[in-house]
């Protein structure tokens, strides 16, 4: 049976990791490499690493750094930030990224998702969608780290991205991000209902119960979280233990049998 993944999200800005609230008020939380090492040692299910300034500043993805991070990472690594073309994707994959994550560039050029999926397979193309709930109740998409409003609802965009070949959708609630008040379950469920690819819930996890809700109530295939792991005593391993107790299938770490 396929296990539900608990995915720490590492947001990377300049030379270190940061974490904000509502895509703002960034706090430094330490250097990247030691964090990757620790998560690798703790055998997390997967890591998502995003350079949050790359698109805003039109920077190229930093393949050199990715190479360093990937060297310490023997669990799946998804890398995002600043990706605008196929050559960059190829370089990132060669640098040790297993999947790539595209957000802003997809709005300007939806065909990028299609060509990436054709060339590298849907399974390595994750599309990240940042969403704000508007006063009228609609969920609208935002690009460039939440700074630019896009004229589409999350339902339309998620479906379109799936049709273009996205293999996974990472959906983040901008308002919930960093608040640790829980995922926006309505948002997650809307996306789960309009696509057939796996949906990763993001934005707002503050405790293990929030993760359980995103999975069992909203139907997410995986939960991503950052603040809860940076700022509280809660860990990915603790999350998986709590989820298992609630009946959610999670991965058990490998223990070699005696005599081997």
């Amino acid at each position: 049976m396929l296990k539900v993944r608990v995915i720490p999200t590492l947001l990377w800005k300049d030379f270190g990791l940061v974490k904000g609230v509502g895509f703002d008020s960034w706090r430094r939380v330490g250097p990247v490499l030691p964090a990757v090492k620790v998560y690798n040692t703790r055998d997390v299910d997967e890591l998502v690493l995003v350079d949050i300034m790359a698109s805003q500043e039109s920077n190229e993805p930093d393949c050199g750094s990715v190479l360093d991070f990937a060297e310490e990472c023997f669990v799946p690594l998804t890398v995002g930030g600043g990706i605008t073309n196929i050559v960059q994707i190829q370089r990132l994959l060669r640098s040790g990224a297993d999947k790539i994550c595209i957000n802003s560039a997809a709005y300007a050029d939806p065909g990028l998702i299609e060509s990436a999926a054709k060339r590298f397979g849907s399974q390595c193309v994750m599309v990240s969608i940042d969403v704000r709930r508007m006063a009228d109740g609609r969920y609208l998409c935002f690009s460039h780290s939440g700074t630019r409003e896009q004229a589409c609802t999350v339902e339309d965009w998620a479906r379109r991205m799936q049709d273009q070949g996205a293999g996974e959708i990472l959906v983040t609630s901008i308002e919930r991000d960093g608040t640790m008040q829980g995922y926006d379950l309505e948002l997650i469920e809307k996306v789960v209902n309009v696509v057939n690819v796996p949906v990763i819930a993001s934005g707002g996890a503050g405790n293990y119960e929030h993760m359980r809700q995103a999975i069992q109530s909203a139907g997410a295939s995986a939960v991503a979280a950052a603040s809860i792991f940076h700022f509280t005593e809660q860990t990915p391993a603790g999350a998986k233990k709590a989820l298992a107790a609630a009946g959610v299938p999670v991965r058990q770490n490998y223990c070699p049998p005696a005599g081997h």
């Binding site: 049976m1 396929l2 296990k3 539900v4 993944r5 690798n40 055998d43 299910d45 997967e46 190479l67 990937a70 060297e71 990472c73 023997f74 669990v75 799946p76 690594l77 994959l93 060669r94 640098s95 040790g96 990224a97 297993d98 999947k99 054709k118 060339r119 590298f120 397979g121 849907s122 399974q123 390595c124 293999g167 996974e168 057939n196 690819v197 796996p198 295939s221 995986a222 991965r251 058990q252 770490n253 490998y254 070699p256 049998p257 081997h260």
Partner: protein, 211 residues
Amino acid sequence: MIVSIVDYGMGNLASVQRALLELGATPVVIDAPEQLRESDRIILPGVGSFGDAMDLLQGRGWVDAIHDQVLQHGKPLLGICLGMQLLAQSGNEGGGDTPGLGLIPGEVIHLSELGCTLRVPHVGWNAITSASQLQPSPLLAGIPDGTDFYFVHSYAFRTQQSLHLLASTDYGIPVAAAVGSGLVFGAQFHPEKSSRAGFRLLKNFLELTSC
């Protein structure tokens, strides 16, 4: 031990290389088929689509060189993910049947064509079960049933004969997780990304003795 990682322009080679280094092997990323001669083991990685990959392998002369090294010189080969699928006789990704390397009888088809009704791609950690309880493959030594590996794929290998299926995983339907024929092996999951369990499998591959 020299382990050649075939670089035909697809896939994440760094992770495989790094995992093999950790295990004490000498991994070499090779981009010319002649270099296969120097190797003790061959790894065929791959991310991408079946048709594109076969085009690249054909165009650069890999197909004959791989056949020669594996079939004539008995070098063990491990295909990973798409690399495993390429071992089949054919694949229909991208429309139409594309001939594969033909090292293991079978075909590669979409998960939904196999009858899978769950979300595709099949992404994440899933448990494998050895196909033969009496005689598990040496590739799976020390890996008990129920061990989770990292999968990420939309197409799957359907072996023609059950003896070539080494392990399967359950994604609503049984899906081939590992295949093998003689010294040719394939893993649908990514051992290089499956943490300790994956290292164990790669170690088994390095320690294979000629059958």
